[in-house]
Structure formats: structure tokens, C-alpha cells
Symmetry: C2
């Protein structure tokens, strides 16, 4: 028996999220089915965490135990032949038997993308929301900074969260503005990518942060309100949950050999 760790990217648009659920058609279902076709094993994989319906991953990480003799370097190409074209496995390595993709994750980074140009970029329409109308990006950056640190993020968690503790640590959060597609002489503000990096995230956390941050960008809230909102520990204090399509699991980091 070996413990294999793999990296997978996916376009979440057409799936019911990562994790297996009664309705089926999840990323996990397709990965487990591809493994079954390759190795004949009906097994369960463990991921670094779930992602919601419509949310994407550049680099999700999962592991599973296999008795298959298929050499580790042949797994990715073989699995990809059984996977739909919007799910691609791109790394595989053997890790210690005790390695667990979720428990061992030290840092996860999400990216949320907002197109703030006048016209949507149709070639990236599945991976960004379109928001035209002036955004104060400095204010958004300022508001975002208030969230860095170790806090009770109840305000930014779905009311359905059943986690015993809502304390998490955000290590860093920053905005990158890509103005390469801005057309001269317009009020185009480019693509605004917000990165949030932490030790773990509550359900809808990044999306609620982004829904609130957009209100700061629109001038409806002051950047320093973010602190008040955070301290309220009340979902009602925050803004709406931003659409899932703008969110991408960007990176998962580990301290051990499982660092991919």
C-alpha cells in the first residue's frame, strides 16, 4: 500500500463543487471514477478542502491509498485520459503513510478576480466577475489589510457553518491590478485580482470578504468599517456573498515532502 499525493486543476463551472454529495457530478466523483478505471480500486480520496459549486482550482491537492503497481510517474497522464477536459491532474508523488492533505496543509491561498473594464473579457468569462463602475482600489486594499491576523471570522462565515471554532489566521491579503487589457481613453480599471492567504477558510469566507470589499470599493463603506464588521462576529454585518465564478483555489502549501 502506498500513499499518493496529486495536484489537480479544474474549471468548476459545470460541477456541483469538489466534494461528493448526493446529487453527484462533483470533481471528487470524477477523480475517484478515473482512479477506478485505472487501478480497479474503489477508493475515497482526501483533498486539502472542499470548493463550492462554480469555484475553480489552479492547484487543489488530494491524496489516497493505493495497492496499484502503476509507477507514480505514470499516474497523471493515465488519469487524464479518463478525466473530462476541464479536470487535469498534473503532479503525483509518494508521501509518508501518515500524510493527510487537509491536516497537513499549512497555508492556502485563494484568488478572486474582478474585471473592472467597461466590457467583459469573454475569453475569461468563466473565471472572473464583471464589475463596471469606478472602484476605489486603494480603499479596498486598506480594508483588506484589517483582516490580516488571527481572528474570529464568524462575520465572514456562512450561517450554515457547523465548525466548532471560527478562529483562523490570515497570513497575508493583497490586490494585484492587471491593466494590460485597459483601452486608452476609457475608465477601464483592468482586472483586479485579490489574493487571500491563510491557515484555513470557513465556508464562503473569501466570497463574503469580497462581497463586503466591493462595497468598500464602491464607496458604500469606509475601509476602516472592515474592522468593525470583523469585530461584530455577525454575518449580518457583512456584505453579500460574491459569485463563486470569480474564486480560484490558487495554492496549497505543506512543510513536508508533500509540498507541491
Amino acid at each position: 500500500m502506498r500513499n499518493l499525493l496529486m495536484k489537480v486543476s479544474y474549471d468548476g463551472t459545470d460541477y456541483n463543487g469538489f466534494q461528493t454529495q448526493p446529487g453527484g457530478h462533483t470533481i471528487q466523483d470524477y477523480l475517484e471514477e478515473a482512479i477506478r478505471r485505472l487501478s480497479g480500486e474503489q477508493l475515497k480520496i482526501t483533498a486539502s478542502g472542499r470548493t463550492d459549486a462554480g469555484v475553480h482550482a489552479r492547484a487543489q491537492v488530494f491524496n489516497f491509498y493505493t495497492a496499484s503497481p502503476v509507477p507514480v510517474e505514470r499516474w497523471c497522464m493515465a488519469l487524464n485520459t479518463w478525466l473530462p477536459e476541464d479536470i487535469v491532474v498534473s503532479d503525483a508523488m509518494e508521501v509518508p503513510m501518515e500524510f493527510h492533505s487537509r491536516h497537513a496543509a499549512k497555508r492556502k491561498t485563494y484568488r478572486y478576480s474582478i474585471n473592472a473594464n467597461q466590457y467583459p473579457d469573454l475569453f475569461n468569462r468563466r473565471y472572473q466577475i464583471h464589475h463596471y463602475g469606478k472602484l476605489d482600489i486603494d480603499a479596498m486594499q486598506q480594508g483588506l489589510t484589517h483582516l490580516i491576523g488571527t481572528h474570529d471570522y464568524t462575520t465572514f462565515a456562512s450561517r450554515k457553518s457547523t465548525k466548532p471554532s471560527h478562529v483562523r489566521t490570515i497570513f497575508d491579503a493583497w490586490i494585484e491590478q492587471d491593466t494590460s487589457m485597459c483601452r486608452p481613453g476609457t475608465r477601464d480599471q483592468g482586472i483586479i485580482h485579490t489574493y487571500v492567504s491563510g491557515n484555513g477558510f470557513l465556508q464562503h469566507m473569501v466570497r463574503i470578504i469580497m462581497g463586503t470589499l466591493l462595497e468598500v470599493g464602491e464607496g458604500k463603506r469606509h475601509p476602516d468599517d472592515m474592522l468593525v464588521i470583523l469585530e461584530a462576529k455577525n454575518r449580518a454585518a457583512a456584505g453579500p456573498t460574491a459569485m463563486g465564478k470569480g474564486l480560484m483555489l490558487w495554492e496549497v502549501e505543506y512543510n513536508i515532502a508533500g509540498n507541491v
Copy 2:
């Protein structure tokens, strides 16, 4: 009556090409229907040229005559509300009555994109072909250069072409290699974008050039063979027609006010 010129980008994946045809579901059909909904006019638009099924456009240009009083600066936003999300109109201007999008086009540039990394980039899967296996990019560049100039491009035209002359001018052709997604320690060669810029193109011309150029990259043909192939003036001398999905109409240039 005014003559309006517009720029449109589209993802050709789900359409039967640009130009209206009996089977319907073309880019032109959707544009004309959006205009009808906006202005009430049942009119025909004229584009800089057609694109095949599955081929994309970053910047296609078209014009049409309208009696509508809608101000020119309001057309794009209004049309986009009636268009599917994979067709976006992004520029509109009034041009002289005699302006004709096809006749007045001085230079058209196409881009063809090949992913030469081990794994496909699923986020761009609709806009590039995946070719893993060593490509000699210098040889491809050398072969491509032989095609620059004014030539009879019969070799690189569909056998179905009914054009009276196959003489065209390729002003420039070049390759840009984007290695930003290459993974260290692999044989990834990045995304290879080939640009071909000319005064006009025959049916399938860029795709047949690319199918042949890939054989040069694979070492099946010598770069100087491109000259022999060109001079054969015979479709049978060239390689296969590369898939439409890798092709994008990149830019159309005009000398007059219609330069967009």
C-alpha cells in the same frame, strides 16, 4: 442613414462560423438579431472576412447602414445586453458611407496557439491545441519566414476555394513563446503563439500553414521544405489542416478613420 463600424470579439467554439449559412447559429446571425432587437431594423452586416466554425476573434470588424437615432456611443452596451456572453461588441464609430469592412481592410493578423507543455492548460482549453512532444521552434520560425512576401498560396488553400486568384501578400509572420507556465525540471516548452499578418487570407490558409509548420517542428520536414511546398502550388504538398480551435483573428487594420 449612417454607416456604423464595430469591433466584436467572440469565442467561436459553439458556433457554425461567422458567416450566415443555412444551418444557422452563426456569429453574424446573433449580431443581426441583436441589432434588430435594438433598432427594429432587419439588416445585413458586412465583416472584414469570415471565420470558420470553432475559430475565435479577439477583434473582428463589421459595418452596417442604419437609420436608427440611437447615439453611436450607446450601441455597444445596448447590443451586449442582447448578445450571448461569448460574443462581445466593444467599439462603435460612424464611418464614411463608402466604407466597406472587407474592401478597406489593409492588414489582417491571425494568431495560432499551441500548448507545448506536458499538460493542457484547462483554463485556455478552448483557445489552444495541446501538442506535447519536442518541437524545434527555431526550425518553425525559419520555415515560417519562407512564406513572407507576395506569392501564389494555392498550396495553403482549401481545395474548395473558389477565389479567382490565390496571390496574397504576407507582410510578416513570427513566433512568440510564452514560458511563464513551464514547470521547472520538465520538458515543457510553453505556449507557442504564431502570428501571421497579411493583406488577405484564403480559406483554411493559416490552419494549413500551421499543420505543415508543426511537421517542421516535429522534424518530419526541413524548414527549407516550406519554400518547395509553397512553390508546388498544390494542396497535396502541404501538411494537414490544423484544428480550428487554436486560431484567433487577432487584428484588422485600416488606413482611414475606420482604424480601430
